[in-house]
């Protein structure tokens, strides 16, 4: 059995027995290639009442290599307007890059990180280079192919 499969099975079992943290729901985990989870930020924040969906994609190297994570953008879900989130759903977060990722992190811990990223947002704004990245530069389909220069370390 591939390590990624065993690992994801373990994470799934844990989710099913212990549940997910507040504001995080498992939407779909039918296979070990891609999962969908929803997140919302509770309390008095800029994203009150909004629900976002996250798409996780795993390769056979998971969890040694980070999963590809992005916000779902379709008829139903939109990407949160946030200085680190592009309008196509790609996320600029060091935790998802090779330097910030640690194999001990998990799907749920990524969700929690992104949840708190939204919770601490001070303004609803797209990254300054959003148009350049999404439209002109033709962002790659898989966000892992992008070498993000992480915006400030604050938000």
């Amino acid at each position: 059995m591939a390590v990624s499969t065993r690992r994801l099975q373990k994470e799934l079992t844990e989710i099913k027995t212990n549940g997910t943290p507040v504001g995080i729901k498992l939407l779909q985990a039918d296979n070990f290639e891609s999962w969908f989870l929803s997140i919302e930020v509770l309390g008095d924040t800029l994203y009150q009442g909004e629900v976002f969906a996250l798409k996780f994609r795993f390769d056979s190297q998971y969890p040694i290599s980070a999963p590809a994570v992005q916000f779902v953008v379709d008829d139903y879900y939109k990407a949160p307007v946030h200085p680190h989130v592009y309008s196509n759903g790609h996320i600029c977060a060091s935790i998802l890059g090779s330097e910030g990722w640690s194999p001990v992190l998990s799907v749920i811990s990524v969700c929690i990180t992104l949840q708190s990223m939204l919770a601490f947002a001070k303004e609803r704004k797209r990254p300054p280079d959003n148009d350049g990245y999404v439209i002109r530069a033709r962002a790659p389909e898989n966000p892992k192919k992008t070498r993000f220069v992480y915006h400030d370390d604050e938000v």
Binding site: R6, Q61, S102, V104, T113, S116, V155
Partner: protein
Amino acid sequence: MSSDYELSDNEYYDEDDDEMMYEDDDGSASEMDVDFKITPSAKPKSYEIEYESLTQPQVEKLITQDVEDISGIFGVEPDVASLLLRHFNWNKERLIEKYMDNATAVSVAAGLALPEKAEPSSSRSRSTGSSLGLGIRRATRRNTAEQPKSGKTKILERVSPPADDQPFVCPICFDDSQTKTLSLSCEHKFCSECWNTYVTSKIRTEAEHWITCMAEDCKLVATDEFVKSALKDDAKTFARFQELVVRQFVSCNKNLKYCPYPSCTHTVSCPAGASKSALTTIVPIVSCGANASHKFCFGCAIDADHRPVVCGVAKMWLQKCQDDSETANWIKSNTKECSKCQSTIEKNGGCNHMTCKKCKYEFCWVCMGPWTEHGTAWYSCNRYDEKASIDARDAQSRSRASLERYLHYYNRWANHEQSAKLSVELYAKTERKMEEMQITSDMTWIEVQFMKKAMDEVFKCRMTLKWTYAMAYYLAKNNQKELFEDNQRDLERAVEELSELIESSIDPESALALRQKVTDKTVYVQKRNEIMLEDTANGYLEERWNWNIAVDGFDEPAEIAI
């Protein structure tokens, strides 16, 4: 990797580091000049730079020297010395200064030792929220190591399965049948399989030589010995790891540059081309010892011979070609552009009232002036001479004239580029011709080599010509530019004549005459190319060239004369 010191990635050795200079056993390979009277002169030409090629073992020797020095001075293991040097981008002086000042702080910053007391996690802000807490611990709660023992600086530790009844469960793969674990001195234990996959992926996929512990936020770094044991018998990946260390060493030393050709592991040492100021007087084209065709520029990122134009101008030209290559720019000549946002507008109806789709600016198609000034004179423009309209038209024709000027140079540039690309076919064709000649006339294999030599020369000169057009585009209009273009014209004419000769058909009777003609022409072309390169190179030294645009390192253009 991060550092607590203000040490930028671009920090290099001080200039006085001349132990970098290396004795080489022999110079460049001698060319096959069988049929020609031209003998390469011994003294370097003004367009050539001195350099040496080093093999990877030669560079490794330099690395070992530095590592042994530091190991001796600090009294640490060579593995530790190597990591310290890598952390300091091989800046030995700086490392010594900082280490003498506070060895513990340096060791912690370099990921060689754990901090004395655990940092409060909130101070470690990362881009994605700092108060992650809970969930992360949750997945790893039971398995991550207890509080690391502080003050311990042992680097490598192999841990056998715990003696107690609790079986070890690797917090990454959750495989409880794994019995072998590895950990750095932080004692974050993971199974050896996971370490193997992790280290392999860091080296193979991420080309990383700085491999830290797998635990979240643990900055401890793996020594070469640890890397080796994690990789087990994978000698190939370990060799790749060593190559990555060499690459880092080379990139930190401004006198060295790694050969950019795929899978080549040679390094070139070129102190004469290492300073920024040198780049205004010479084009430091070098080639590595592995293969004479591995030509690249020591001064910039262009992996080809871009003589005679200096790096700064060559870079500018390539950027311009890239920016202007989009179709929109070609369309420009057939369309007008909005005088407000410069986006292209095509007229698709009879009405002169235009609205720019992009910025909503309204203007008149006939006079290009703002529509608001047309008052009630709808659809019949009578404002052709109003100031606003003249200005708008001027801007338009200026931009078109500049586009045409650019196209003049670009087309010639692209033509030589294209011809050079076709040379592969031409070489094949010429080869067939050479075989034919051996059969139809009485020439031997060595006697027909003049054709190949001519081909080589044509190819080389087309490269020179190509870059002369980039240079001419940016040269300010004056006598010097005229002389430059005279040389360019002479070379171009000679090259075209030689090309034609090579491609002409041969009948057995005239084969000998053709041989004479081609040989003479080749010598002539060679001479013209020499003149072109030499005169341009001398011009840099004599500061004869003026640009029509600001170029890094050169005087500002006095007046823009295009």
